[in-house]
Structures are given as structure tokens and as C-alpha cells.
């Protein structure tokens, strides 16, 4: 049997996704038996020129983690799209832009001036340092998820993806039974569907941040005034965060058929807030509750800003 060819690539990424692959423990040996890893910059040296020499469609499957932030990320996404039969967006950053997508709240110049405030010179695409010329890939104006720049065959959500999901994907790869294109390897339902906590259907009368209270471990976190993104987030992780007494922050992206995860969660919170009988008098109390949410984008769009309308605002 000819071995499969597998590629793993990181674009704008923290490295956590590469490491998460090892969470499958000994299953990695099955993978090694079934597939040759022809590209994995995190673990093995690779030259982009060699990659360019590969025939189109030569790599059976590429797991692409990280978002598109630089010209290099973009070029590699395009190159790998050509070389891979199946291109997989692996992890939140590739899937929805991820937590680093919050950078779209700032312009490129704002990012540079904050990051390199006291540096001279601020790195540019070509910088002259001590008589030498240094070239860096262009830093793009905005960060985008992978499918904003090339077509994507499969999605593996999570920051990083949970072991069970990676394991299921590897099994599908090894057995050659990949599902229909476009599949998101996770639940079709939202996280609440698999969360063991008990819903009491209480209206929210006060909003807390996780460090402000010790949450009851049995009751739904939303019912306790903690903003849990479970209702607007795709399940599949087994409710790992609620099980650790922490609210879901939405890393698995929107549920099937929804594009704007942040908006969906914002609707949910708006519907749950209640301070008694509806009437003009309660409006002020409601406003006071809403104002307790300090960082609205960071709360509702923590992982999905770059894939939503509000993450593509022109800034000058």
C-alpha cells in the first residue's frame, strides 16, 4: 500500500496547534505507519523551494494552523492549496481568525507603534541595519482566517483542537474515509447540548467576570451571571471549560449555519437579561446591567472577530 502524504503547516500561530497533535499519544504511531509527513516546519526542516517542486495535488492532506497575517502566510496558503488534495483549517486561528483576530480592532500602524514603540528602526519590509539589508514579509492590513484567502476542504475547530476531535480526524485520514467536503469536525449542535450543567432558566440580573465569584459547579454558568458562550458555540469539546468551572469563551466558532457568532451570543445575553416586570421603569436597571460588560468585542467575538463583519472595518 502506498503511504499517504501528510503536511502540517503553521501560519500566524502560537505553536499550540502543532503541539496539540501530540495529544493523541500512541495514535501518532498509527499515523506514522500510514503516512509520510512531507512538511512540518515545527518539527522538521523544510525549504519552501522544495515545496514548490512538489507536483500539484501531491500532498494528500495538509493540516494548516494559524491565521493569515503576513504576505508569507498568504503565499504559503496559496501554494499549499495547490499542492494539497485536501486542505484543512486546523484550530481557531485558521478556522475563524482566533484570538489573534482581535488585532483587527487596531490598524497596522497602531499595532506597529504599540509593539515597536521604543525601537529604532521600526522593522519595515526592507530595513537597513548596520550596513546590512534585512527583508521581512509584508505585514498585511488585516488578519483573516484561511478560507478568506483560499478554498478550504475541512475545518477542525478549537484553540487548540481537543484530543477527541484530532483523534477522529486522524482515524478518518488513516482509514481513507474522509467525510463530505466542507465538514466541520465537531458537533452540529451547540455546546449547551453536551454540557452537563443544570439550566434553571433564571433571568440575569447581574453580570460577573470569572474572577469575581466562585461558580456553583452544577448550575449553568449563564444562570449565575457569567457570560458563557455555550449557546452560540459549536459543541464537540465535551464542554471542557464549563467542566472546569470556567465559562466557554467560544473557541470552536459558530454553530452550523450561523456566520456571526458574536452577534448570536449578544442576542442571547440581551434576551436573558431581566429585572422584573417589563415597563419603562426597568429600562435604566437593564442599562446598568449591560454596562457591566466592559469589553463587548473581547467577550462576544473573542475567537471570531476576523471572520465577522465587525472584523473587516476600514481604518485609516
Amino acid at each position: 500500500m502506498t503511504k499517504l502524504k501528510l503536511g502540517i503547516y503553521w501560519a500566524a500561530s502560537c505553536g499550540g496547534c502543532d503541539v496539540s497533535l501530540l495529544e493523541v499519544d500512541e495514535q501518532i504511531l498509527d499515523l506514522a505507519a500510514a503516512a509520510d509527513i512531507v512538511l512540518w516546519p515545527c518539527a522538521a526542516d523544510v525549504k519552501y523551494d522544495d515545496l514548490r517542486e512538489y507536483p500539484d495535488g501531491w500532498i494528500d492532506l495538509v493540516l494548516f494552523n494559524g491565521a493569515i497575517r503576513t504576505q508569507e502566510n498568504l503565499e504559503l496558503a496559496q501554494l499549499l492549496r495547490k499542492k494539497a488534495r485536501n486542505l484543512v483549517a486546523y484550530g481557531s486561528c485558521a478556522h475563524t481568525g482566533g484570538v489573534i483576530g482581535l488585532a483587527n480592532l487596531s490598524s497596522r500602524e497602531e499595532i506597529f507603534s504599540t509593539l515597536f514603540k521604543d525601537h529604532d528602526p521600526i522593522p519595515t519590509e526592507v530595513s537597513q541595519v548596520d550596513g546590512c539589508s534585512l527583508e521581512l514579509p509584508q505585514f498585511l492590513n488585516r488578519l483573516t482566517p484561511l478560507d478568506a484567502v483560499v478554498s478550504v476542504d475541512y475545518y477542525i475547530p478549537g484553540c487548540p483542537p481537543p484530543r477527541e476531535i484530532i483523534s477522529a480526524v486522524l482515524e478518518a485520514v488513516i482509514s481513507g474515509k474522509l467525510p463530505e467536503k466542507g465538514t466541520v469536525f465537531a458537533s452540529e449542535k451547540n455546546l449547551c447540548d453536551e454540557c452537563p450543567r443544570e439550566r434553571t432558566e433564571q433571568p440575569i440580573t447581574k453580570i460577573y467576570r470569572p474572577h469575581e465569584i466562585e461558580a456553583d459547579p452544577e448550575i449553568c454558568l449563564l444562570d449565575q451571571g457569567l457570560i458563557c458562550l455555550g449557546p452560540a458555540t459549536r459543541g464537540g469539546c465535551g464542554a471542557a471549560c464549563p467542566n472546569a468551572n470556567m465559562p466557554c469563551t467560544g473557541c470552536a466558532g459558530p454553530t452550523a449555519g450561523v456566520t456571526d457568532q458574536g452577534a448570536a451570543m449578544l442576542n442571547t445575553i440581551a434576551s436573558l437579561i431581566g429585572v422584573g416586570e417589563e415597563g419603562e421603569a426597568v429600562l435604566q436597571d437593564e442599562d446598568a446591567i449591560l454596562q457591566e460588560i466592559e469589553d463587548v468585542i473581547g467577550t462576544f467575538y473573542r475567537f471570531s472577530l476576523a471572520s465577522s463583519a465587525l472584523g473587516s472595518v476600514c481604518r485609516e
Binding site: T259, E280, L290, I297, L310, V313
Partner: protein, 143 residues
């Protein structure tokens, strides 16, 4: 997105109007032959509570410069409290818009009853003027 800023700029407005109050109010403005700017594309919804934040961000992403949401006055919603939910949503959405660099005044919520044709006219006039001042929407940069 629309061409230029300045005086020649004609904003595109999508108006979600609840069927029981605001859409009827807009109808009344029409049959009363009140004149208002043609910039508004009215969409009838059963209740302002039907308008979720994702619908607003979607029309902004598709090129609207402003979104008007019309509902019954507090206490008058045909479905009891749909307009209260909408009010809270709009409030949160405005905070999100502001943080994302979009002027929150691009989303406007107004209570317009079935008998307030004049208020509908004034609202559209005022909103169109405001959006002309603000210029084309910055949502949907394709750089």
C-alpha cells in the same frame, strides 16, 4: 460600498419595521403622501424582536450604510416584550460597533406606532441626514 463622501453621497438604509406598528406607520406616511428620502429600503418583520444582531451585521457587511429598526412603543408590542429585547440587543450591538470602529449611530432604533406616519417621515429624514454626515460605511474593507 458607495462611491464618495460629501454631498453627492446617498446612503443606503435598510429599515426593519415591525408589522403591527412601524410598518403600518410607514404605510400611513405613504398614503398620507408625506415626502421622505428614497434612501430607505423597508423590510417588514413580524416584530422588532425578530431583528437579531446578526441580521444587522449582515446588511452592514452587504453594503448598507445604516440600519433603522422600528418597533412598537414600550408596552405596545404585539408580542408583549419583543421590543424590550430589541432595545437591549441594539444597546449591546452599538457598544460592539463602537469598539470595532463603526459609528454606533449607524444603527438607529425608533418606536413608531401605526398612527405615526409623520414620525416615520421625520425619522427617515433625520437618519438620512446623519448618514450623509457620517459618509459611507467603513464595514467590509477589502484590502
Amino acid at each position: 460600498m458607495s462611491d464618495t463622501g460629501g454631498n453627492s453621497f446617498e446612503p443606503k438604509i435598510v429599515a426593519f419595521l415591525c408589522r403591527w406598528c412601524s410598518y403600518a406607520g410607514a404605510d400611513l406616511a405613504g398614503v398620507s403622501r408625506l415626502i421622505y428620502p428614497p434612501n430607505v429600503i423597508p423590510m417588514r418583520v413580524n416584530c422588532s424582536g425578530r431583528v437579531d444582531a446578526g441580521m444587522v451585521t449582515e446588511v452592514l457587511a452587504k453594503g448598507a450604510d445604516g440600519v433603522l429598526i422600528g418597533g412598537c412603543h414600550p408596552g405596545d408590542c404585539h408580542y408583549v416584550n419583543g421590543n424590550y429585547k430589541t432595545r437591549r440587543r441594539v444597546q449591546l450591538l452599538k457598544a460592539a460597533l463602537e469598539q470595532a470602529g463603526v459609528n454606533p449611530e449607524r444603527v438607529h432604533l425608533e418606536w413608531i406606532s401605526a398612527s405615526e406616519g409623520g414620525k416615520f417621515q421625520k425619522t427617515v429624514e433625520g437618519f438620512t441626514t446623519k448618514l450623509k454626515e457620517l459618509g459611507p460605511s467603513p464595514v467590509g474593507c477589502d484590502d
